[in-house]
């Protein structure tokens, strides 16, 4: 591709929409990889067999849900603390 080549405006727009979508998908995949690692370490402790047990399976999906709950909980806590500071109450509870 030569360096002076330029896409027309419509194509540039189309490409930027495309890129945004691809990036969003890549972020989603990254999160899934991250959760898979965390939850594998938590839930799969024995030697891997030919199939997951019922409990491993439900552990994996509970693990994802609770991890997300934890992250929401933390955000809420930090917001509470910040608004306590803003209200002149510096004591953390």
């Amino acid at each position: 591709m030569d360096n002076n080549f330029k896409f027309d405006e419509a194509t540039q727009k189309e490409l930027s929409v495309f890129l945004e979508k691809q990036q969003a998908e890549a972020r989603l995949h990254s999160s899934i990889h991250n959760f898979t690692g965390i939850c594998w370490d938590k839930c799969v402790t024995g030697t891997p067999s030919t199939r997951f047990s019922r409990s491993e399976e439900s552990c994996l999906s509970n693990c994802v849900e609770r991890f997300l709950d934890t992250s929401l909980f933390m955000v809420r806590k930090i917001e509470e603390q910040r608004s306590a500071v803003e209200n002149g109450n510096t004591k953390f509870t």
Partner: protein, 86 residues
């Protein structure tokens, strides 16, 4: 013009697919090594190879369970957000 656009799009798609595969391989490799090779010998024993191939299958399965759970949750939260706006 169109061919160049397609070329750019395909390059991006390939790049993302490659990154995705690398991430999966890296973390599966690390975890399956930990799970299956407890005492490294002079070569991979057949028992270790069986364990590794089962482990890889399970890792992919875990990835899919996690993906399903996460995507379902995202969908649920999006619906709740919409309900709150209305």
């Amino acid at each position: 013009m169109n061919a160049k656009k397609e070329a750019v799009m395909n390059a991006v798609r390939n790049e993302i697919a490659l990154t995705n595969a690398q991430q999966l391989m890296n973390s599966a490799n690390e975890r399956c090594y930990k799970a299956c090779i407890t005492k490294p010998g002079t070569s991979l024993s057949s028992g270790e190879q069986t364990c590794l191939s089962r482990c890889l299958d399970r890792y992919m399965e875990a990835f899919n369970i996690v993906r399903r759970t996460y995507v379902a949750r995202l969908g649920r939260e999006r619906m709740e957000d919409q309900a709150n706006v209305i």
